[in-house]
């Protein structure tokens, strides 16, 4: 049996290679939507989703590729979606920022900052009322924690004792503004003001550590039915949106970048990279071909899937 480390590594590497493929294709303009890449942050999605059943429901932000894949959704349908093709997971109408795949419990992602956090809370309320032993997970950036609906969601989940896992992917940036310009609080400490249990991990590159913390947390949530907050410090390698680098502009430091890269298993563990690359590449090529060969949605699709 493949070891846990290898399994998580494989999943993380797969996400990174998918996004690197996106970078390669993007200048051709075949991908019709803006892309917010998770490169550098893959371990968070993988560490969370490894502990979720298909019936556990996940909601993410527009930085959603990693969650879509880690939750087990289909890669062909993802590339098709990015290409705006009718075979995409949203029939080509959603694009990169609104990936979703209900069949694996990836319930939605949204361009509107913080908007899916309350959806996770609402679905947890439903799941509690219906006596489903289900955990609902909201993932979001540090910037999202400044939104009013974040506060309302934590308070509501706490008062109503709902089985929600809130995970903040703290990459220290909201577009160009750094966290110290925006926060009077530390996210995991602020959570305590709702009487919520919260934990914090600094090593956002370490999928093993994230996996074991999330495993513990999910077990506790299933046992107690109470919500918790997890804050994970991580690092965004690319610019906020798009495929470029932005370490040449003043708000970022290439020293921090070098530090992250020096501990990033997806860069350092050359042996496993060699072992897995070929297989992953083949899967990606097939998915891109699938997207290329698929059709665009017919005009009549403009009117479907709302009511």
């Amino acid at each position: 049996m493949i070891s846990l480390y290898k399994n998580l590594f494989y999943q993380s590497l797969r996400i990174r290679m998918v996004e690197e493929k996106i970078i390669e294709i993007y200048p051709s303009d075949k991908i019709q939507s803006p892309v917010h890449l998770s490169i550098g942050q893959e371990a968070v999605a993988v560490g969370i989703c490894n502990n979720l059943l298909k019936t556990d429901l996940l909601y993410s932000s527009y930085r959603s590729h990693a969650y879509y894949l880690a939750k087990g959704a289909n890669l062909n349908k993802m590339f098709a979606e990015l290409y705006g093709k009718v075979t995409g997971c949203g029939k080509g109408k959603a694009g990169s920022m609104h990936l979703a795949e209900k069949s694996v419990g990836f319930m939605g992602s949204s361009a509107v900052v913080a908007s899916t956090i309350s959806h996770a809370v609402g679905s947890a309320l439903a799941s509690k009322r219906l006596n489903k032993n289900q955990v609902c997970v909201a993932t979001f950036g540090d910037g999202a924690s400044e939104e009013g609906s974040y506060h309302e969601s934590l308070n509501f989940a706490s008062v109503f004792k709902l089985p929600v896992l809130f995970v903040c992917e703290n990459n220290g940036l909201a577009i160009h503004s750094t966290i110290d310009q925006r926060h009077s609080y530390k996210i995991h400490e602020h959570a305590k003001s709702y009487n919520l249990k919260s934990t914090y991990i600094e090593e956002g590159y370490d999928f093993m550590k994230i996996n074991s913390l999330i495993s513990e947390t999910i077990n506790e949530i299933k046992l107690t039915g109470l919500p918790q907050v997890v804050e994970i410090k991580t690092y965004r390698y690319k610019e906020h949106v798009g495929i470029g680098d932005d370490h040449h502009v003043p708000y970022r430091s290439s020293k921090d970048f070098d530090n992250w890269k020096s501990v990033d298993p997806l860069i350092q563990d050359k042996t496993l990279i060699n072992e897995f690359s070929e297989k992953i590449n083949a899967e990606i090529e097939a998915a891109v071909n699938f997207a290329e060969q698929s059709e665009f949605p017919a005009d009549s699709e403009l009117f479907t899937d709302i009511y």
């Binding site: 400044e146 939104e147 009013g148 609906s149 974040y150 506060h151 309302e152 308070n155 509501f156 706490s158 008062v159 310009q181 925006r182 926060h183 009077s184 609080y185 400490e189 602020h190 305590k192 003001s193 709702y194 009487n195």
Partner: protein
């Protein structure tokens, strides 16, 4: 920090010696605060009667919360700003509004500065640096934070203070407001009047935090829980917070622990959800009775002077209603004014058409709103 509750004036009407020694409140100040509390209580009792007799459409009051808002507002200077919820009429009295204007507002007649466009009790008093009351909960919090941010930016030495209920702390605006004020060290004082209820929802269903004050900790600002039925503690705690803000040391969250002795509004009946005995136990803590005991024991007031203050307030209210009822309805054109600085031609045409139509048909009924008192 936040679990202990600050009190200066005990329920038996005695005051801590330290406060007596250090307070800057003169006898004149104490009298003024007391008179305002009485006027506010009379205003409430009489306004509810106006509502019940159909002379105003709605009333929302503050019985039991007079110390909480009047004590705190007394710590402000006149060029400071207040952004109220809807339970702070006493602040307007302190800031010099005419009683008649308040009653005209409730009647929605031409004496109302907002010309009947707002619900009763949604006062707006720009001259007194008092932001408008608005129905949506917690929206005043970002307003207060914004003006404080602007003041700091423009180097004006003013402070802004905002009131909201404990129910309103569940709104997103509470979170964004406190975070923003703390990050930018804006000169603002947040006063949460925790009156234990948000209409029929008790505070235990609003938050599972140990207190409201403790929430301040998350934002790195001081959080202070104070006996909201103790007018002297409210004054002192607010004064300290106002000073901090004015000195550039940033915001403070004050939880005024108090109780709404009345129903939520004239449209509510609190007896339907209050547990038995709760009202009675809080009536024992009535902030006016407590303050009265103190003022009597200090010989600042006598039973006679107290009676005169109360009689004067009643008489003042009677006269103000008489005068307010003489004021006619807002003119028809106010349906169109107050939106654009320069009215667009198309709107002007509609306005003139309507006015001509009214002239042609005449007023359909007597609009004087006069009722026998």
């Amino acid at each position: 920090m936040s679990s202990e509750i600050i009190q200066v004036l005990k329920e038996d009407g005695t005051v801590s010696p330290l406060f007596k020694k250090e307070t800057d409140l003169t006898e004149q100040d104490l009298k003024k605060i007391y008179e305002t509390m009485i006027l506010t209580r009379v205003y409430e009792e009489r306004s509810l009667k106006l509502q019940r007799s159909g002379r105003i459409g709605f009333y929302i009051g503050c019985k039991g919360q007079e110390a909480s808002h009047i004590g705190s507002a007394y710590a402000l200077k006149m060029d400071d700003w207040v952004f109220p919820a809807y339970r702070e009429p006493g602040v307007l009295f302190l800031r010099g509004i005419a009683l008649k204007t308040m009653i005209c507002q409730m009647m929605g007649n031409a004496g109302d500065p907002t010309m009947g466009r707002q619900m009763p009790c949604h006062y707006s008093y720009k001259e007194g640096n008092n932001g408008s009351v608005s129905s949506p909960l917690a929206t005043q919090i970002p307003h207060a934070v914004g003006i404080a941010y602007a003041a700091k930016y423009m180097k004006h030495k003013i402070v802004s203070l905002t009131y909201f209920g404990e129910g309103s702390t569940s709104e997103g605006d509470f979170h964004t407001g406190l975070n923003f004020a703390a990050v930018f060290k804006s000169p603002v004082v947040f006063i949460c009047q925790n009156n234990q209820w948000a209409i029929s929802v008790p505070v235990a269903r609003q938050t599972v935090s140990e207190s409201i004050a403790i929430k301040a900790k998350a934002y790195g600002m001081p959080g202070i829980k104070v006996d909201g039925n103790d007018v002297l503690a409210m004054y002192q705690v607010t004064k300290d917070a106002v000073e901090r803000a004015r000195n550039g040391d940033g915001p403070t969250l004050i939880e005024s622990f108090t109780y709404r002795l009345g129903s939520h509004s004239s449209s509510d009946d609190a007896a339907r959800y209050r547990p038995e005995g709760e009202l009675e136990s809080w009536e024992q803590k009535d902030p006016i009775i407590r303050f009265e005991k103190y003022l009597l024991s200090e010989n600042i007031l006598t039973p006679e002077s107290i009676k005169k203050i109360k009689d004067d307030a009643e008489e003042e209210f009677t006269q103000a209603v008489k005068e307010a009822e003489k004021v006619g309805l807002p003119p028809l054109e106010t349906l169109f004014t107050g939106v654009y600085k320069d009215m667009p031609e198309s709107l002007r045409e509609q306005m003139e058409d309507l006015i001509n139509e009214q002239k042609r048909l005449g007023a359909s009924e007597d609009n004087s709103m006069a009722f026998p008192l």
